[in-house]
Symmetry: C2
Subunit: 329 residues, 2 copies
């Protein structure tokens, strides 16, 4: 399928800004010289202003595409429900597409949604690559990134670094010295890099520099297997898990080994799932405010569509949910 | 927006079957007399066979719409991931829409997806009304219902009634006599009615007829509040929860009251979430095979699109996961 021409393309070829092209089509003020330039580009590429204007009008599909890395993570689900709820009240329909943590699918599905004439895209991103930037630039529709920083556009972020610091400092303050961190791939800037760096820096602030790093994905099963293998070799003071789901995998491996949390090994997670407080012992965890993140993402999208001003970066809060899974050494 | 005319409409007006109309457009064999009839209808309504054929062709969007009652239930998420996984391998993209358990939105979104030219719709339904039947009849595209029986079409079902019987019989066999069931709304035929009736019949088989019914929705919070209120009045032998999530709400209320499971009160759920086995005590629960349900739903859709034969009803299995949350009275 041939890519459709965007306002940005016309702007680039005319040497003007996109908003000038937009004014041209919407009958706003444009200098005569500029008007001629835009007109000649449009004629050269066989665009009829009317058809284009029509397509702009038809573009108000009242549909927002939501691209998610999975459909079965508690935090992502909560974020999507909040997005959906806000948008429905504003009379938008949200269409969710799952990428299964595949960056290429993120790009492909953004293009698909664009061709389907959605009004905007909210991307619960696993990473932000150059390809993401190029694609967003090409598409003339609003895109909001959730969970990963998009330097050329609008992002809603969790404060992964500082949450990590809090947990790292806590671990050290409680006297833990032999610490294992079970994390996710570094292509995920927020969870894989920022969160981990926060933890390492938090530990370092308190003089702890020895830490063993285990690499998992986002699944329960892989975390379970990794921790099981670890415990066959040795029992560290503490396991810090990058997500509650990984912590659940650790629970299972620890319980199967006949060890007690926190007496034999301390455990902490990130996520603050409802269920984490029902475990025995209660999991100590960071709760990200994903309801707020979803709400803000949808609100920001709604404002962008109304051409109201929005901040470039919005950071939502977190809190430490004190459980009983960390011992005092 | 004016509704588009469907092959079914043409079939109805011509007094022939839809497949005859399909053959007409695809150049298959149609009796001369019938051919004339179809032709006159098409001309009367200003349809050009070519345009129609074109729209048929354009219809192959390789997009399947998936309509779900929520995005944050473990069973639904698991089903959607399995659907998505199968369809992606078959080079389809699935678009998920959340209805928030609202029947009117189910209907509205089916229409929306139809107008977006999806190739088919998989509906993880909360209920099946006359309006559903009428709409599916009107749309000339395959629809697969998951979780609720659709008498005029294709359904993938969980065996809610027999799973209910199993739990009801188990409860009675373990000697429980004073039982509280916390369930969901009866508009949900599968969970609200079939599952409940199975439980009641299972208990009845074993001579237990006294049961108090509490009504919740699908949320953790409402279940927690209902059980909290119950426990302020009295402590039954056992609580049977319609879903694991409701059981989690019960756990919280029971723990807060300082009661022990199962010593002071037995508890059982339906769902078989990963996490249910990490609770202390482990929750005894029915695990529905939602991976298989999702797989079968997607496979059935794929077959329908290839015009291969499919069964009208397919029932996926369940198993009792034995935990430690039911005492022997």
């Amino acid at each position: 399928m041939k890519k459709k021409m965007t306002m940005q393309d016309i702007a680039d070829m005319s040497g003007v800004t996109k908003s000038t092209v937009s004014r041209y089509f919407n009958g706003g003020y444009v200098k005569d010289e500029t008007r001629e330039k835009i007109k000649s580009i449009i004629e050269k590429y066989n665009y009829e202003p009317n058809a284009f204007a029509q397509s702009l009008k038809a573009k108000q599909s009242r549909i927002i595409g939501v691209i998610a890395p999975c459909l079965d993570s508690t935090v992502t689900s909560r974020t999507m429900m909040a997005i959906d709820d806000y948008l429905r009240k504003e009379n938008y329909m949200s269409l969710v597409i799952n990428t299964d943590h595949d960056e290429k699918l993120e790009l492909k599905y953004m293009e698909s949604l664009w061709r389907m004439n959605v009004d905007g895209i909210i991307l619960i991103a696993t990473q932000v690559s150059e390809a993401h930037c190029a694609l967003v630039k090409k598409m003339d529709l609003p895109v909001v990134f959730v969970g990963q920083k998009f330097k050329d556009g609008i992002s809603i972020l969790y404060d992964d670094y500082h949450a990590g610091i809090k947990v790292g400092e806590l671990a050290a303050e409680k006297g833990h010295r032999d610490i294992v961190y079970i994390g996710v791939m570094e292509s995920d800037q927020a969870v894989g890099v920022e969160r981990k760096n926060g933890i390492l820096d938090g530990l370092k602030h308190k003089g702890v520099t020895k830490i063993e790093l285990l690499h998992a994905d986002f699944s329960f099963d892989v975390a379970y297997e990794k921790v099981k293998k670890l415990l066959m070799k040795r029992i560290p003071d503490m396991i810090i898990a990058a997500t509650d789901r990984l912590a659940f995998g650790a629970y299972k491996a620890i319980q199967e080994k006949g060890l007690r949390i926190p007496e034999d090994i301390s455990l902490v997670g990130f996520g603050g799932y409802e269920i984490s407080s029902l475990l025995t012992p209660k999991l100590t965890t960071i709760r990200y405010d994903s309801d707020t993140a979803g709400y803000i993402a949808a609100e920001t999208m709604s404002k962008l569509l109304k051409e109201e001003p929005v901040p470039k970066v919005q950071i939502v809060g977190y809190e430490l949910l004190q459980g009983d899974s960390i011992k005092e050494m």
